[in-house]
Symmetry: D2
Subunit: 470 residues, 4 copies
């Protein structure tokens, strides 16, 4: 890469994965609309056809006259060739297929455990992690060997465990995880502010928040818009709308069918005093499964107005995206040049020195950004992004009650990473038993059986070491 | 205070001290040029005439047509009335007079100890602290009683000990210390960048740095301008200019006669690899007094091209400022509306929610912003300023060698605070003996005698408790 | 001091205080019965007559044929002369008189606050601390000046604050606090063990416990006798005796009229799962004063079977001791040579290298002996005593629920030390308001009035600095 | 196990390994001489014949009339059966054979790297760890499954990494590592004390020391005998004997051919001020290999008067032990009932509640027993052993200079554990490059080749995962 006159040329970005298309196109779109960056995108995917399609789509896009950000898209046939010389590495992979995800999400239902997403916490998140971690071990080793100085941006879930694995294998890695859930909650605040104060065109980025927690279970203990404290406004709104929640107008592909009315969020505010900063579908999966669980059964879910995203829907959605991919590659359809609302490109620009930006980020807690979580936890807080540096802001402490909710997940991250690396069945059972969604809802024997059945169903995507248990 | 439409009205600022005029006028000037803030400045000074002069000057300035920032200046006759209802409190006092400062700076010369400033570290800094801390205890108690929620901005030296005292007495205080030395070093970097790269009009604020250390002994381990790493440029420059240093063009009242050629800074870079970020006159006072001391004797000082600011000069300068004060109050002269380069007003605006700003700040290390200094140390690092919040950035660790230089000063801050509060003679002696400028240069007996003589000379400004030693 | 052949000769012990006689005689008795130590006891008391009496009594005792531990008792007329050359320093003073203590204990009754001891926590403990701390500042300064290498044993209450003050003034001090409350609870365990298991002659020292907490509010999370876990035995006993408690046979002067039935202790075990290790009279003063307070009113106290030690009793008891002192000094009565059960002499022997001993001790938490209390807290845990060294054992963590009970007291220790040093009225008010016995039971105004009245009543024993509030 | 009347009956001890006979017989001998313990020893070894031999030898010993400690020895045919129901688990295995050890020790000589032991630090220690860790993963999993409450005593080297692996897999394990090197240094001190002070029959246990460091690289910053400080005595002796060292009289099987003159130890004292507390053969392997290395070449080694234990010697020695084993099993020879000087049995007795004992132990630093090493490091310090509990003593801080020597080894423990679990070639290379014996003495290419060749030579004892590199 080369900086001159406020622009960066010849930037080398390795894009690992992207076969599921969605994120790749978001990324392409944002690149296409930014004239300060240019260079090469090396596409690497174990699904070679997916990479090829993206190459065609990317180059076609770049050739368009209305596109100011000019990039050369090229398929790499190995991790080594994709990484060598890269300035940035973007990782966005799907570990296994939606068939495996169907098991993640739905098999635990036999114990009454319903999952609204199933990719982060809970049995689904754990099982997905067992497939993902070995891939991340390999990717981290490759980065250490071929691109140790590159910045690594992770979009894959389970976010915390992906980032944790990268740092475990290669502690000097310059990696971070990006997630847009916080933006979603900023938009809710923006909407409430506009609705109640009669303001117009409040920018999402101007809703300043202090972020603390772990990915998909993050919290704001501070929210401001210019001179206005948003907490009293939010408090009033949540009291008046505890039943109907908040309805948002704008949507993008990433969350259109993943809606919620935010009344779980409102309820959590009433109980804990902080603003939970992720979609309700994610939040509920971190909460205890006994007592007044938001996920008790489908009727309860309906009452709390969020969706249980079925994997059937995901499969259908994927088909549509593949069809769209074919159309885009064939030139039968064009990518729409509309800002996606993601900050990935902005962060890359900041790391190139073109701007200085404060945004939320998932990295290890080694700067004590959350004072009462262990240093080894991967946490989500704000950080300043500047040329070749990320500096976390001191986010303070989690309130004791919320810390008690977060602690078992942080402990499970340790456990699951260890289980994945050692191929250790008992650790997976322990992780299930300690997961708040499972805890107190099934016997050890039932859980052992569930773990064994889930492992068997996904055995194709697991290392050899698991065979002895299956 | 009241926020509306991007402006803050009716802001109540208590200004404690200011009798020496300089800082007060800087502050007035910056306020006068900012149209987004308005309100009342309550002036409180034990020198009532000084406060009265400032009231007249401030109101005269505010009445001018070319002034957009409108403020009502008013003298408060007690701390209580100044503080009650204040949103912000600015403290800028002179503990004692320049007669006492003459003792601070010059009496230690009898042991061969020369001081270039004498207000922060060294015998002079310690003695000044003994006068200042009791005043700060009283101020902190008053803030706790009358304005516990107000933001407190300290400009008084010794900075670290003033801030430390405020937090010691009232741990929940929202206080921070501002210092412009870092800006000075940013300007040096800006100048070198322009000189060597042919760039023009680089803004000081665009020199992004990572700040770590203690006030007047701060360091950059990172310096960037947009996409450019300034370290290699600085390294080359310091090698080529190790003899002649760097000459800066612009000056303001605060440093015009306080010049240096920055070759101490260049020498420290060669030895320690980081950019020391204060004027050379300050830096040298933190370094060991034995071996190749920069302060060995006046000849050595001359060779290193920085000044020993004599107190005679300060007295003369004060006379001029008092004369100017009279002229300003009488309307015979006008304050010039020129940006001062200070960030105080910017920080107030950020704390009001009007902007978000990253700047260097002196606060306790409770956010672990410097990982390898104790939590109780008052450190200088960058922080994000936003509505009613300061969030320190994680600045990392001091390199081991520099930490060894910083440690004795941090330890002395503890000692001197304790000595001041307990009126403990032996602790002062210990602090002198552990001060790097003194260490190894005098016997305990000599130091005891010096401490006793210095205390006697400044006894008028010390609490009763010291009498038993004098 | 001089070691040879398993004995230590010419040991120099400074004994500060002792005017109240009790502790001094205990100490003399133990010394008299130990043949491995000999030397000089330098008695220093602001009550010169008391010191003189003790000198006569000590030397008379030492001269007896049945006494194997030979010591020379001598009155010192200044701290300096007592301390210079001392190997050990014992401090056991009464800050003020029982008239002041009467105010400590009884004046808060006007707000319904009853105190069973009034010398550690609660309003009485705080007020006593305000008198004691200035004396300890002076003593610590004297030790630093005249005997910096001596071991310092504190017996004065409030224990935590006395030890904290010594370390605050002179961080390198080799000081520790001794308290026999833990022994009392070991004796309860011994008694229960003998009663329920039919064992005989169990030695108190063989009841091995893990001690953690703060003085007078210490806890055992482990108690063993040889191969036997005492927790199930204690659990069973507390269930069967929740009404009648445990009655002990042996008593000594220190607790004869200070009895309790230990049912508060049993109740705390039921609630928190650990064995509280101090007399019930002490324990209750640390617990919340609202809700089911053990100290709600005299009737409640009676129901829980412990005493409210009145100061009238103490005054009468002192008269008796003074009379006894006169008789002892006149040779009309002899000190009885019976082991006192205190470990002070054992600890001195261990520090001389004659034995190695594990015992409970009050020192700052700088060895992280209690992992979840701050380093600056003075904690009570076990430590190994050996030649010239005390090494705390890692005691683990306080359980969360107990930590919540301990935390406000640890915070108040900080506050009260600061209040005493700064003569800061508002900090005392804050300490009262945060004390669990006071919290929620009186308005700030009522507390301010109480603090003012209590300060006034004890003003004679307070520094000048308080005058401005009285 | 069952406690009654000061004895413990029916103790169940699983003994894993022991095929090399030496340690097993030591253990048997100590058990045979202690009348307070009895029970069953379950022998488990992958070398079934070795276990069978030990069974015969053990039972034969137990049947002798002069033996007071009666035990039933029995071979277990699986880890599960050995562990289920065990109260204690002793692990003493040889990872691989002496053929593999020959590679560990001698192959690095091609780069000029001589190793005196080759089982702890250096290339040999690392390679041995790669073979050992997978076995310890399996053992830890088995303990978690079958005997989670048992106490686990490790004797296998590399000690720190064996203990680290056990805690990594099963953090709740009650495991510790025992090593007699500290005793050896206590004996040196005892000998010097007797020699210089004319004392007789000083007991090794009465040499009280404060132990801090990591296994085989431990240090004393304190050594006392009763009232005598041993530091000045040791200092004088090391000055007078810097050439000839100290010659010890008594030897036992474990160190007879492993002698040294302790002049390395004396030299380290001169340089660092603390007493290094392991045999010189171990100490030298932790020190830098460049500069004045004690291991520069065989001539240097000779000058420093310690041995390079060749593996040929070990093989011959093993043959002798196997022959002796046959004779013992056949009843042609009898085990001699002589105290071995090991403390293993004493520690078991303490953990049973029969005594309370202070001894050195290798456990994770989770009690902050060494304040300036990370919590995750396995450190060696003193601890109190009592019924079912080990409580580390606070050992203080390593002096900065020694910490710098220890740090790279602590970092390498992390690296090597990770390398072993991930089968990560590059991490092994990094560990070699960071090992002080290797650092600065070979290129990365040379080290990569050495690592590859060493791995190939020991491939038979490594997991599958390494194949891809070989």
């Amino acid at each position: 890469m080369e900086y001159a006159d406020g622009k960066v040329k010849d930037l080398q970005i390795a894009y690992i994965g992207g076969g599921s298309r969605g994120w790749a196109w978001t990324f392409m779109t944002d690149l296409a609309m930014d004239e300060e960056l240019s260079g090469t995108i090396r596409l690497y995917d174990i699904d070679a056809e997916a990479a090829k399609h993206n190459e065609i789509i990317g180059n076609r896009l770049s050739a368009r006259e209305d596109v100011v950000g000019k990039w050369n898209y090229t398929v790499s046939d190995s991790l080594q060739s994709a990484l060598t010389g890269a300035d940035f590495i973007v990782i966005s992979i799907l570990p296994g297929t939606f068939d495996e995800m169907a098991v993640d999400v739905h098999m635990p239902e036999r114990l009454g455990i319903y999952q609204s997403v199933g990719d982060t916490a809970g049995p689904g998140g754990a099982m997905r992690a067992l497939r993902t971690i070995p891939m991340y071990v390999e990717i981290a080793q490759a980065i250490r060997a071929y691109a140790p100085k590159a910045w690594v941006i992770n979009y894959t879930n389970p976010m915390s465990l992906c980032v944790k694995t990268l740092y475990y294998v290669f502690p000097e890695i310059k990696a971070f995880g990006c997630c847009h859930e916080v933006f979603g909650t900023q938009k809710v605040l923006k909407g409430i502010l506009e609705e109640t104060m009669g303001l117009k065109d409040v920018k999402r980025e101007d809703i300043q928040v202090n972020v603390l927690g772990i990915n998909h279970f993050t919290w704001f203990d501070y929210a401001s818009y210019k001179g206005i404290d948003l907490f009293p406004i939010y408090r009033k709104y949540t009291e008046e709308h505890k039943e109907d929640g908040y309805k948002e107008a704008d949507k993008n592909w990433a969350n259109s069918t993943f809606e919620c009315a935010h009344i779980v969020k409102f309820d959590l505010f009433r109980k804990y005093g902080l603003i939970a900063a992720a979609g309700d579908r994610h939040l509920v999966e971190f909460m205890p499964g006994v007592g007044d669980s938001y996920l008790k059964d489908p009727e309860t879910v309906k009452r709390w107005k969020f969706g249980l995203t079925t994997v059937d829907w995901r499969k259908k959605d994927l088909q549509e995206r593949l069809a769209k991919s074919a159309r885009l590659a064939a030139g039968e359809e064009e990518i729409e040049l509309k800002p996606t609302g993601e900050e990935g490109i902005q962060l890359i620009k900041a790391l190139c020195g073109l701007t200085r930006k404060i945004s939320n980020v998932n990295i290890p807690n080694t700067g004590h950004q959350i004072a009462n979580l262990p240093e080894s936890a991967v946490v989500e807080t704000n950080a300043v992004f500047e040329r070749d540096a990320i500096r976390p802001l001191y986010a303070g402490e989690l309130p004791e009650q919320i810390k008690e909710l977060v602690d078992p997940h942080v402990a499970n991250h340790e456990r699951i990473l260890k289980a994945a690396i050692l191929c250790d069945f008992d650790l997976v059972v322990e992780a299930f038993l300690e997961d708040p969604q499972v805890k107190g809802r099934a016997s050890r024997e039932q859980v052992e059986e569930l773990v064994r059945d889930m492992l068997r169903s996904t055995a194709k995507y697991l290392p050899e070491g698991w065979k002895k248990y299956l």
